[in-house]
Structures are given as C-alpha cells and as structure tokens.
C-alpha cells in the first residue's frame, strides 16, 4: 500500500496535469490498477490512443484496451455487458437504451458526447483564403456538377472574390476513411436531393483525384492549382477554407464553432438524468455544421469495485481539460465546451460499485 502510494505520488510529481483528472474523476486518485477493456466506434481510435497513453501515464498499473469494432459492435457489446464502456457514433435508440438499462442495473446508463471531430472543406486558389459556399454548392462541386471556379453558384455567394476560370479538381481520400463518411453524412443529411449517395468510408464518385490519408489529400491539394478537398479541420495547413452556409450566414471553421453544435442542439428528452443524447442540428446559426459527434457509454453502477473505479477514472480523464486537449492534439478533435464537459463529468463522478 505504501509502495503504491509512493508510486502514485511519484507519478503525480512527474505529471502536473494529473490533478486535473483527479478532481474530475476519482476521489482516491493514484491507487488505480488493473485492466479496462472497451471498444466501439473506430472514429475515436486515434483519440483513444491519446487518452490511453495519457491515462496510463498517470496510472502506470492500469491497462486500457479499446477494440475499434465499429459503433454497432460497440453498442451491442455494451448492452451484452462484454464492454464496460463503449464508444459509438450514434446515441442508443429507445430499445437499445431499455436493454442497456436492464444490463446496467439500478443506476442506469451514462451516455454523453465525448468526441467532436470537425471536417474542413479546403481549397487551393492563389490569392483567395476564404470562400462562402452553401451546402448545395459544396455537394455540387464534390459530385462533379460544378466544374469551374467562376461558376455562378460560387460567384453569387462571393461577390468580392476575384474567381478564376480554372477547372475545379476534386481531391478525395483514396483509403477507407471515417472522414469521408463523416463528410458524406453531413452532405446527405443537409442536401439529400443533391448528395444521393449512401454515406460510407469509400468515396462514391469515380474519376476524381485522390490521395491516401489526411496528409495525402492536403499535399495533393497544395500541389495543384484549383483543387478542393475535405480533411480533418486541424490538418489543412495553409489551404484556403470554405465558410459553410448555415441558415442565412456563412460560418468559418473554428474549434469553438464546431463544439457549439452540441450546445445548440436539443437534448433528447424523456431519458434519465445521465443520458445526454442530442439531436444533432446542422442549421444553428454561428455553429460549424460539418462535425462528427461520437458518444461514450458507461453504467452508473458496476458490480466489481475495481472496474467501477477504472471506468470512472478513465472517462473522467477523457472529459478533463487535459484529456480533451490530448485528443485535440493527436486526433484533431474540437474540445468539448467547458460547461458541458463539467456536466458530463458530474455524471461520470456518480459511478459507484454496488
């Protein structure tokens, strides 16, 4: 015991950020040990890497595993009890929630958005840093219907820009990617009559340029004049960005504007106090709408005391300022608004063993 305490003190000494997680999560900070294995949405995989590394750095005796089986698999395994916590790109629906409540027991389910991943639409046109585009225009360009930069659809929203007659070269991801799916999800939600494809990880339009990975599409876009691409918002370097039409106005990407989507979206009603599910609204003025919101699922009570402490500690760390920053740095996510993160941390804090 003394040894463990000394070890934890040493760990705290090395890592000043440990306190931040400690007061958000576990009261008895420092004596966590054991193995925690969850899984689910692969969109969270790289953020989860950062969270695991950060958390295991604070508690060297803890091992956290995350199996990126996909959102559906994550929810299924959470409901069956195989995963003590899970990640999912969609909130539990009513039936799933009922099953999950039954599995979790009297405390019920904890569910909240933990990861917001914004996608920027970026282009390379000499001398132009920003362009306004409505969702219809964006879909038209990426579908190949709008082929030159001085097309009326673009020019009408950008009266001040000196648009060249250059051909538009669309660059998409050549690999199977969550960013592609996320971007298409936005297009097919907002302009379903233009973007008629089923959102999936592989780009649906043939005959366009493509490159592997985020850095690949960004460098491809940089290499050619008149290119346009979509990429994780934090990775677009010096490319020009599209201010996306939301309602009557155009919104530039910023982490705050992306995170504000949840703040502005209505919370699904009729659920228990710890279930924070949102009907994602893509049309709230002042918010950046091309985002993926991914949830964390946990139980409020666990039979095993060690497991309860581990889940509480780990999810508390994820919601801490340090955890959100780690994900922003490594996965390019937008940190949760502080007020919401604190509200969710309150729910996580209520995890008990029983």
């Amino acid at each position: 015991m003394v040894g463990a305490l000394a070890l934890s003190l040493a760990a705290c000494g090395q890592n000043p950020g440990a306190d931040a997680a400690a007061d958000g999560a576990s009261a008895s900070a420092g004596d966590l040990s054991g193995e925690l294995s969850g899984g689910g949405a692969s969109s969270q995989e790289s953020a989860m890497e950062a969270w695991r590394a950060g958390f295991q750095g604070q508690y060297p005796d803890v091992t956290v595993n995350y199996d990126p089986v996909g959102s559906g698999g994550g929810r299924e395994n959470f409901i069956s009890g195989a995963f003590p916590f899970a990640g999912s790109d969609a909130a539990l629906d009513d039936d799933e929630l009922a099953d999950a409540e039954a599995q979790c027991g009297e405390g019920g389910v904890i569910e909240y958005p933990a990861y917001i991943s914004p996608v920027a639409v970026a282009f390379n046109l000499e001398g132009i840093d920003s362009l306004n585009m409505t969702p219809e225009t964006i879909a038209g360009i990426f579908k190949g219907d709008i082929t030159t930069w001085d097309d009326a659809a673009i020019a009408d929203d950008n009266p001040d820009a000196d648009l060249p007659s250059t051909d538009i070269t669309v660059v998409h991801r050549s690999d199977d990617s969550g960013t592609t799916e996320n971007f298409q999800e936005y297009l097919s939600t907002v302009v379903p009559d233009v973007w008629t494809y089923e959102p999936e990880g592989i780009w649906p339009v043939d005959g366009q340029e493509s490159a592997q990975g985020t850095s690949g599409v960004v460098s491809a876009a940089q290499a050619g004049e008149g290119t346009i691409t979509y990429a994780d918002a934090s990775q677009i370097a010096d490319l020009g960005t599209v201010a996306v039409g939301v309602g009557e106005e155009f919104v530039e990407y910023s982490p705050e504007a992306a995170a504000a989507v949840i703040e502005g979206s209505p919370r699904v009603e009729g659920t228990s106090e710890h279930v924070f599910a949102y009907d994602l609204a893509r049309d709230i003025e002042g918010t950046y709408p091309i985002v993926l919101v991914s949830y964390h699922l946990a139980c409020a009570t666990y039979e095993d005391a060690e497991q309860a402490e581990l889940v509480k500690g780990f999810l508390g760390y994820v919601l801490s300022e340090e955890g959100q920053k780690a994900a922003a740095d490594s996965a390019g996510s937008a940190p949760l608004p502080t007020a919401l993160a604190e509200e969710f941390a309150g729910a996580v804090d209520a995890i008990t063993a029983g």
Partner: protein, 334 residues
C-alpha cells in the same frame, strides 16, 4: 557443353587402396561437415519459404476466386457489380505492368549510360565515387522516395506533363486530360525509374567491367573508336548481364508499394493515359490501401490480387532466366 574434350574418366579406385579413399572423404570432417549441412539447410529454407508463401496465397485466395460476383460485390469495397474475379483483377494487373514497364524503359538506358561511364570513361577515382553514390541511391527507403515524389517531383512535373499533353496529345500515352496535381502514373513511373536505377546500374557496371581486356584491345587495335569498341566488344559481352539487371529492376518496380501508394491517385481502368488522374492502380498499392479496413472475404480478395502479383513476378523472372540462358552462349561470358 560438348563432350568431345571431356576430361579422361577417373580411374576406378583400386580396392587395394581403401585407406586413401577414406581419407579423401575425411577431408570433410568436423566443422566442415556441419557447415555443409548449414549451407544445404539455407538452400532448402529458400525453397521452403517460397513454397510457404505460394501455399499461403493460394489457400487464402481460394475463397475469393471461387466466390460468386454478387458475394464479392457485397464484401469487397470498390468491387464493380456483375464482374468476374478476372475482370476485377485485370485493371490492377494492367496498371502494375504499365507502371513497371514505363519505369524500366526510362531507367535502363540511363543506367547503362551510367554503368558505361563508370566502367569505361570516368577517371578511376571519379568512377569509384560515382559507384558509391549510385549504390547509396539504393539505400534510400521507398517512403522517402514517396515523399520526394509528392513534395518535389509532382509539382515540378505538372507543367511538363501539361505541355506534353497539350502538344503531343495525339500519342496515346500522353492523351487525356493532364492532372494539375500530377499524381499520376507518369510521375509514379519516374519515381520507380529512379528507385530501380541503382540495381540496374550496379549489375551492368559489374558486367561491363568483366569484358575481357583482350576483346577491347583487339577492337582498339583494329582502329575502332572508343564508341565502336563499346559497341562491338563491351555491349555484346554484357547483353545478358544487362537483361538480368533490368529484370531485377522490373521485379522491384512490380512490387513497389509505398511510393506508389503515396503518389498515385488511383483508378481502375485499362487506360494508357498516364497524365490523367484516377486511371491506374498497382496491385501492391491497392492491397496496402484497402487492407487496413478489410475483413472477411475482402481480405481473401486482396490476397488473391497478391497471388496475381506473385504469378506475374515469377513469370517475369523465369522469362528473364530463359533470355539470359539463351544468350549466354554468344556473349563470351563462358
């Protein structure tokens, strides 16, 4: 080989001298015998490895090859509807071969030039330095070539490809619409050519250096210029060596993954338009691109494309062996 001048038959050892015979056998004793087994083992290991790889490929490719097109279309991303497996692998094989052959066409003349310069023209000291430098090219990892390709070569090549496309667009290879990013097969072929340059150069140089001095001096004595000497003595002697060097390079170009993956903007067509984006894909890059997210039958399909690459590489190497073996008798190398 002729039999007329075969060495006189070794007289059968007389039974009266068994001791002597045993002692010849005994020169292989101690570690010598062990070493014989080590080398035999190493030789057998290469066969076993090859067999294991072939077996793995065939076994894992089998479900994909025998699956129906509908099953494959369901399981494999990018699988075109209603096509047989052959029709699906076809464009990949075509892209792989086109990239490798173009690279070979670009690299071989340059490599021969470098090799001749090093072996016959350069001052000895310069030749040594150049030799080292060329070998150094071979030590650069392919991911670095890929980075160089997208960061330096593609932007620099875009206007050149555009120009060729504008003015020589009637030539099938240069037809189509030139990509502004130049992440096309033409750029890939140039990078592959640079990558296979060292191996072709190194092997050719060694072969050229082995040209018998007497042949060269005979040519010069008959009044040949240096170019005529190279043409009449060095090149005929080195031909089979250069062919095997080129085939070694072709093998590397066929299997190159990382650089192609990073540079090429892929497509799945039978197309000769090397300046247009989204036309070609090579097998190795295709596997690397889609394997991370593949599961079930999709993995089998990817391995089946790998089997196709294995067969192509094997065929290329065997063809090269055949060519070399046929030419050997006339090259003077024996």
């Amino acid at each position: 080989m002729t039999t007329t001048d075969s060495p006189p038959a070794v007289p059968a050892p007389a039974p009266a001298r068994p001791r002597r015979r045993r002692s010849t056998g005994d020169t292989e004793r101690g570690f010598s015998r062990t070493f014989r087994w080590i080398t035999t083992g190493a030789g057998a290991l290469i066969l076993a490895t090859l067999a294991a790889v072939a077996l793995f490929l065939v076994a894992r490719a089998f479900p994909a090859v025998t699956a129906s097109p509908t099953e494959l279309a369901d399981a494999v991303p990018r699988y075109p509807d209603d096509t047989s497996f052959i029709a699906y692998v076809g464009p990949l094989v075509f892209g792989t071969l086109l990239a490798a052959v173009l690279a070979l066409l670009l690299a071989t003349p340059v490599a021969m030039g470098i090799a001749l310069f090093i072996s016959h023209y350069a001052p000895r000291r310069l030749a040594q330095v150049l030799g080292y430098l060329v070998d150094l090219l071979a030590a650069i990892p392919s991911v670095v070539y890929g980075l160089w390709g997208i960061a330096v070569l593609a932007p620099a090549a875009a206007p050149v490809w555009g120009w060729l496309n504008d003015y020589l667009g009637w030539f099938p290879l240069f037809a189509g619409e030139a990509s502004p990013t130049a992440r096309t097969l033409a750029t890939v072929a140039v990078v592959l050519a640079v990558m296979i340059l060292p191996i072709i150069t190194a092997v050719s140089r060694e072969v050229f250096l082995q040209t018998p001095r007497l042949h060269e001096e005979a040519a010069l004595a008959l009044g040949a210029t240096r170019w005529e000497m190279v043409r009449t003595a060095v090149l005929p002697f080195g031909r089979s060596g250069v062919i095997s060097a080129a085939m070694l390079g072709l093998g590397r170009a066929l299997g190159e993954t990382m650089a192609v993956l990073m540079i090429l903007s892929p497509g799945f067509l039978y197309s000769f338009k090397v300046f247009q984006a989204a036309q070609h894909q090579t097998i190795a890059a295709y596997i690397a691109l889609d394997f991370p997210e593949a599961s079930g039958l999709a993995v089998n399909a990817l391995i089946a494309t790998g089997l196709a690459l294995f067969v192509i590489t094997l065929a290329v190497n065997m063809a090269a062996r055949a060519v070399v073996a046929r030419r050997k008798d006339f090259s003077g190398a024996n």
